[in-house]
Symmetry: C2
Subunit: 142 residues, 2 copies
Protein backbone atom coordinates (compact mmCIF):
# COMPACT_ATOMS: atom_id res chain seq x y z
CA UNK A 1 0.00 0.00 0.00
CA UNK A 2 2.39 2.39 0.71
CA UNK A 3 3.67 3.34 -2.23
CA UNK A 4 6.58 2.82 -0.16
CA UNK A 5 5.55 0.50 2.52
CA UNK A 6 6.77 -2.61 4.14
CA UNK A 7 4.03 -5.17 4.26
CA UNK A 8 3.45 -8.77 3.62
CA UNK A 9 0.09 -8.93 1.93
CA UNK A 10 -2.34 -11.30 3.52
CA UNK A 11 -0.16 -12.04 6.51
CA UNK A 12 0.00 -8.76 8.33
CA UNK A 13 -1.68 -8.82 11.70
CA UNK A 14 -0.16 -5.68 13.10
CA UNK A 15 -0.96 -2.19 11.85
CA UNK A 16 2.64 -1.19 11.35
CA UNK A 17 3.21 -3.93 8.81
CA UNK A 18 0.72 -2.21 6.51
CA UNK A 19 1.98 1.35 6.84
CA UNK A 20 2.21 3.74 5.30
CA UNK A 21 -1.11 3.76 3.49
CA UNK A 22 -1.83 5.40 0.20
CA UNK A 23 -4.22 8.34 0.29
CA UNK A 24 -6.76 6.24 -1.57
CA UNK A 25 -6.74 3.47 1.02
CA UNK A 26 -6.95 5.89 3.94
CA UNK A 27 -9.85 7.72 2.30
CA UNK A 28 -11.72 4.46 1.81
CA UNK A 29 -11.17 3.49 5.45
CA UNK A 30 -12.42 6.91 6.57
CA UNK A 31 -15.49 6.55 4.39
CA UNK A 32 -16.28 3.18 5.98
CA UNK A 33 -15.51 4.28 9.55
CA UNK A 34 -19.08 5.27 10.44
CA UNK A 35 -21.15 2.95 8.28
CA UNK A 36 -21.11 0.24 5.67
CA UNK A 37 -21.00 1.45 2.10
CA UNK A 38 -20.76 0.09 -1.40
CA UNK A 39 -18.01 1.06 -3.82
CA UNK A 40 -19.79 3.81 -5.66
CA UNK A 41 -21.04 5.20 -2.33
CA UNK A 42 -17.45 5.35 -1.07
CA UNK A 43 -16.51 7.28 -4.18
CA UNK A 44 -19.19 9.88 -3.54
CA UNK A 45 -18.48 10.14 0.17
CA UNK A 46 -14.82 10.92 -0.48
CA UNK A 47 -15.69 13.44 -3.15
CA UNK A 48 -18.35 15.03 -0.95
CA UNK A 49 -16.20 15.18 2.18
CA UNK A 50 -13.38 16.92 0.34
CA UNK A 51 -15.69 19.37 -1.37
CA UNK A 52 -15.02 17.79 -4.73
CA UNK A 53 -11.26 18.18 -4.56
CA UNK A 54 -10.37 14.56 -3.98
CA UNK A 55 -11.64 12.16 -6.59
CA UNK A 56 -11.18 8.41 -6.65
CA UNK A 57 -10.95 6.94 -10.13
CA UNK A 58 -12.81 3.68 -10.56
CA UNK A 59 -9.58 1.83 -11.29
CA UNK A 60 -8.06 3.09 -8.07
CA UNK A 61 -11.23 2.42 -6.11
CA UNK A 62 -11.87 -1.17 -7.10
CA UNK A 63 -8.20 -2.05 -7.22
CA UNK A 64 -7.76 -0.71 -3.70
CA UNK A 65 -10.85 -2.57 -2.46
CA UNK A 66 -9.48 -5.83 -3.77
CA UNK A 67 -6.16 -5.33 -2.01
CA UNK A 68 -7.81 -4.17 1.19
CA UNK A 69 -9.95 -7.30 1.28
CA UNK A 70 -6.83 -9.42 0.86
CA UNK A 71 -5.09 -7.50 3.65
CA UNK A 72 -8.04 -7.81 5.99
CA UNK A 73 -8.63 -4.06 6.30
CA UNK A 74 -12.23 -4.40 5.14
CA UNK A 75 -14.66 -7.25 4.61
CA UNK A 76 -17.72 -7.73 2.49
CA UNK A 77 -21.07 -7.44 4.21
CA UNK A 78 -24.07 -9.59 3.46
CA UNK A 79 -26.54 -7.15 4.94
CA UNK A 80 -28.48 -4.65 2.90
CA UNK A 81 -28.26 -1.42 4.88
CA UNK A 82 -30.95 0.19 2.74
CA UNK A 83 -33.94 -2.17 2.58
CA UNK A 84 -36.13 0.12 0.53
CA UNK A 85 -33.56 0.42 -2.22
CA UNK A 86 -32.09 -2.91 -3.02
CA UNK A 87 -29.85 -2.51 -6.04
CA UNK A 88 -28.57 -6.01 -6.66
CA UNK A 89 -25.38 -4.84 -8.26
CA UNK A 90 -24.15 -3.30 -5.06
CA UNK A 91 -21.48 -4.90 -2.91
CA UNK A 92 -21.25 -3.50 0.58
CA UNK A 93 -18.09 -3.32 2.65
CA UNK A 94 -17.37 -2.95 6.33
CA UNK A 95 -14.20 -1.81 8.08
CA UNK A 96 -12.53 -4.44 10.28
CA UNK A 97 -10.87 -3.97 13.65
CA UNK A 98 -7.52 -4.22 11.93
CA UNK A 99 -8.68 -1.57 9.46
CA UNK A 100 -9.56 0.73 12.33
CA UNK A 101 -6.21 0.30 13.99
CA UNK A 102 -4.33 0.76 10.74
CA UNK A 103 -6.27 3.91 9.88
CA UNK A 104 -5.62 5.25 13.37
CA UNK A 105 -1.91 4.54 13.13
CA UNK A 106 -1.74 6.19 9.72
CA UNK A 107 -3.61 9.23 10.99
CA UNK A 108 -1.12 9.54 13.83
CA UNK A 109 1.71 9.37 11.36
CA UNK A 110 0.15 12.13 9.30
CA UNK A 111 -0.57 14.20 12.40
CA UNK A 112 3.12 14.01 13.18
CA UNK A 113 3.97 15.38 9.73
CA UNK A 114 1.42 18.16 10.18
CA UNK A 115 2.95 19.04 13.55
CA UNK A 116 6.35 19.26 11.95
CA UNK A 117 4.96 21.52 9.23
CA UNK A 118 3.55 23.77 11.96
CA UNK A 119 6.82 23.86 13.86
CA UNK A 120 8.62 24.83 10.70
CA UNK A 121 6.11 27.57 9.94
CA UNK A 122 4.79 26.09 6.76
CA UNK A 123 1.21 26.24 7.97
CA UNK A 124 -0.20 29.71 8.44
CA UNK A 125 -2.95 28.99 10.92
CA UNK A 126 -1.97 26.88 13.90
CA UNK A 127 -5.38 25.29 14.01
CA UNK A 128 -7.80 25.86 11.21
CA UNK A 129 -11.17 24.44 10.38
CA UNK A 130 -11.92 23.98 6.76
CA UNK A 131 -15.00 21.99 6.12
CA UNK A 132 -17.23 22.10 3.10
CA UNK A 133 -20.24 24.45 3.43
CA UNK A 134 -22.73 21.66 3.80
CA UNK A 135 -22.39 18.51 5.81
CA UNK A 136 -20.27 15.95 4.11
CA UNK A 137 -22.47 12.96 4.67
CA UNK A 138 -25.82 14.08 3.37
CA UNK A 139 -27.30 11.26 1.42
CA UNK A 140 -24.23 9.45 0.28
CA UNK A 141 -24.30 5.73 0.51
CA UNK A 142 -27.95 5.21 -0.16
Amino acid sequence: MGTGGTKIAGEAREPRDLLPLTTAVLNILLALADRERHGYGIMREVEGRSGGEVRLGSGTLYGSIKRMLADGLIEESDERPDPGMDDQRRRYYRITDLGRRVAGAEAERLASLVDTAREKKLLRSPRQRRRSPRGHDAGYGT
Copy 2:
Protein backbone atom coordinates in the same frame (compact mmCIF):
# COMPACT_ATOMS: atom_id res chain seq x y z
CA MET B 1 3.34 13.78 -6.40
CA GLY B 2 0.62 12.03 -6.04
CA THR B 3 0.64 8.92 -6.43
CA GLY B 4 -2.33 10.31 -7.81
CA GLY B 5 -1.80 13.82 -8.77
CA THR B 6 -2.62 16.17 -11.53
CA LYS B 7 0.39 18.19 -12.45
CA ILE B 8 2.17 19.40 -15.48
CA ALA B 9 5.84 19.01 -14.72
CA GLY B 10 7.86 22.13 -15.21
CA GLU B 11 4.88 24.31 -15.85
CA ALA B 12 3.06 24.37 -12.57
CA ARG B 13 3.10 27.76 -10.90
CA GLU B 14 0.30 27.20 -8.46
CA PRO B 15 0.53 24.84 -5.49
CA ARG B 16 -2.63 22.95 -6.33
CA ASP B 17 -1.27 21.82 -9.67
CA LEU B 18 1.34 19.81 -7.80
CA LEU B 19 -0.89 18.19 -5.22
CA PRO B 20 -1.11 15.73 -3.70
CA LEU B 21 2.52 15.13 -2.81
CA THR B 22 4.08 11.79 -2.05
CA THR B 23 5.25 11.29 1.50
CA ALA B 24 8.82 11.31 0.25
CA VAL B 25 8.48 14.73 -1.39
CA LEU B 26 6.76 16.23 1.64
CA ASN B 27 9.44 14.86 3.95
CA ILE B 28 12.16 16.36 1.80
CA LEU B 29 10.43 19.75 1.81
CA LEU B 30 10.07 19.59 5.60
CA ALA B 31 13.74 18.73 5.96
CA LEU B 32 14.69 21.77 3.87
CA ALA B 33 12.23 24.13 5.54
CA ASP B 34 14.63 25.48 8.15
CA ARG B 35 17.99 25.22 6.41
CA GLU B 36 19.81 24.11 3.30
CA ARG B 37 20.88 20.51 3.24
CA HIS B 38 22.53 18.02 0.95
CA GLY B 39 20.92 14.74 -0.11
CA TYR B 40 22.45 12.49 2.49
CA GLY B 41 21.73 15.07 5.17
CA ILE B 42 18.06 15.10 4.15
CA MET B 43 18.02 11.34 4.51
CA ARG B 44 19.35 11.51 8.05
CA GLU B 45 17.08 14.38 9.08
CA VAL B 46 13.99 12.47 8.00
CA GLU B 47 15.17 9.34 9.75
CA GLY B 48 16.08 11.27 12.87
CA ARG B 49 12.88 13.28 13.02
CA SER B 50 10.71 10.17 12.81
CA GLY B 51 12.75 8.30 15.36
CA GLY B 52 14.04 5.93 12.73
CA GLU B 53 10.61 4.83 11.53
CA VAL B 54 10.60 6.65 8.22
CA ARG B 55 13.46 5.80 5.94
CA LEU B 56 14.14 7.24 2.50
CA GLY B 57 15.82 4.81 0.14
CA SER B 58 18.53 6.36 -1.99
CA GLY B 59 16.61 5.64 -5.16
CA THR B 60 13.57 7.43 -3.79
CA LEU B 61 15.67 10.29 -2.45
CA TYR B 62 17.63 11.17 -5.55
CA GLY B 63 14.76 10.40 -7.89
CA SER B 64 12.53 12.74 -5.89
CA ILE B 65 15.18 15.47 -5.82
CA LYS B 66 15.47 15.35 -9.60
CA ARG B 67 11.72 15.74 -10.05
CA MET B 68 11.48 18.44 -7.42
CA LEU B 69 14.17 20.48 -9.17
CA ALA B 70 12.25 20.13 -12.43
CA ASP B 71 9.04 21.21 -10.71
CA GLY B 72 10.70 24.18 -9.04
CA LEU B 73 10.00 23.02 -5.48
CA ILE B 74 13.68 23.17 -4.59
CA GLU B 75 16.80 24.62 -6.16
CA GLU B 76 20.47 23.88 -5.90
CA SER B 77 22.55 26.16 -3.73
CA ASP B 78 26.07 27.28 -4.52
CA GLU B 79 26.87 28.18 -0.94
CA ARG B 80 28.69 25.87 1.42
CA PRO B 81 26.77 26.13 4.69
CA ASP B 82 29.53 24.33 6.56
CA PRO B 83 32.84 26.04 5.76
CA GLY B 84 34.94 23.87 8.05
CA MET B 85 33.80 20.69 6.42
CA ASP B 86 33.80 21.04 2.69
CA ASP B 87 33.05 17.69 1.18
CA GLN B 88 33.18 18.32 -2.52
CA ARG B 89 30.77 15.55 -3.38
CA ARG B 90 27.95 17.27 -1.59
CA ARG B 91 25.20 19.04 -3.46
CA TYR B 92 23.12 21.39 -1.34
CA TYR B 93 19.48 22.21 -1.92
CA ARG B 94 17.21 25.02 -0.84
CA ILE B 95 13.42 25.12 -0.66
CA THR B 96 11.78 27.67 -2.99
CA ASP B 97 8.79 29.89 -2.31
CA LEU B 98 6.72 27.58 -4.45
CA GLY B 99 8.02 24.66 -2.42
CA ARG B 100 6.92 26.38 0.79
CA ARG B 101 3.45 27.05 -0.53
CA VAL B 102 3.07 23.53 -1.89
CA ALA B 103 4.23 21.98 1.39
CA GLY B 104 1.80 24.20 3.29
CA ALA B 105 -1.08 23.25 1.03
CA GLU B 106 -0.25 19.58 1.36
CA ALA B 107 -0.03 19.85 5.13
CA GLU B 108 -3.48 21.45 5.17
CA ARG B 109 -4.81 18.62 3.07
CA LEU B 110 -3.37 16.10 5.52
CA ALA B 111 -4.65 18.06 8.51
CA SER B 112 -8.10 17.76 7.00
CA LEU B 113 -7.75 13.98 6.80
CA VAL B 114 -6.52 13.86 10.39
CA ASP B 115 -9.52 15.95 11.48
CA THR B 116 -11.83 13.51 9.73
CA ALA B 117 -10.11 10.61 11.47
CA ARG B 118 -10.69 12.36 14.82
CA GLU B 119 -14.35 13.02 14.04
CA LYS B 120 -14.83 9.40 13.19
CA LYS B 121 -13.12 8.25 16.40
CA LEU B 122 -10.20 6.56 14.73
CA LEU B 123 -7.67 8.54 16.74
CA ARG B 124 -7.62 7.83 20.46
CA SER B 125 -5.96 10.99 21.69
CA PRO B 126 -7.45 14.23 20.39
CA ARG B 127 -4.09 15.93 20.49
CA GLN B 128 -0.97 13.94 21.11
CA ARG B 129 2.68 14.81 21.15
CA ARG B 130 4.97 12.07 19.99
CA ARG B 131 8.46 13.28 19.43
CA SER B 132 11.61 11.26 19.55
CA PRO B 133 13.41 11.33 22.91
CA ARG B 134 16.15 13.59 21.67
CA GLY B 135 15.82 16.62 19.48
CA HIS B 136 15.35 15.72 15.87
CA ASP B 137 17.81 18.19 14.45
CA ALA B 138 20.92 17.57 16.45
CA GLY B 139 23.83 17.46 14.14
CA TYR B 140 22.17 16.40 10.94
CA GLY B 141 23.21 18.21 7.85
CA THR B 142 26.81 18.78 8.74
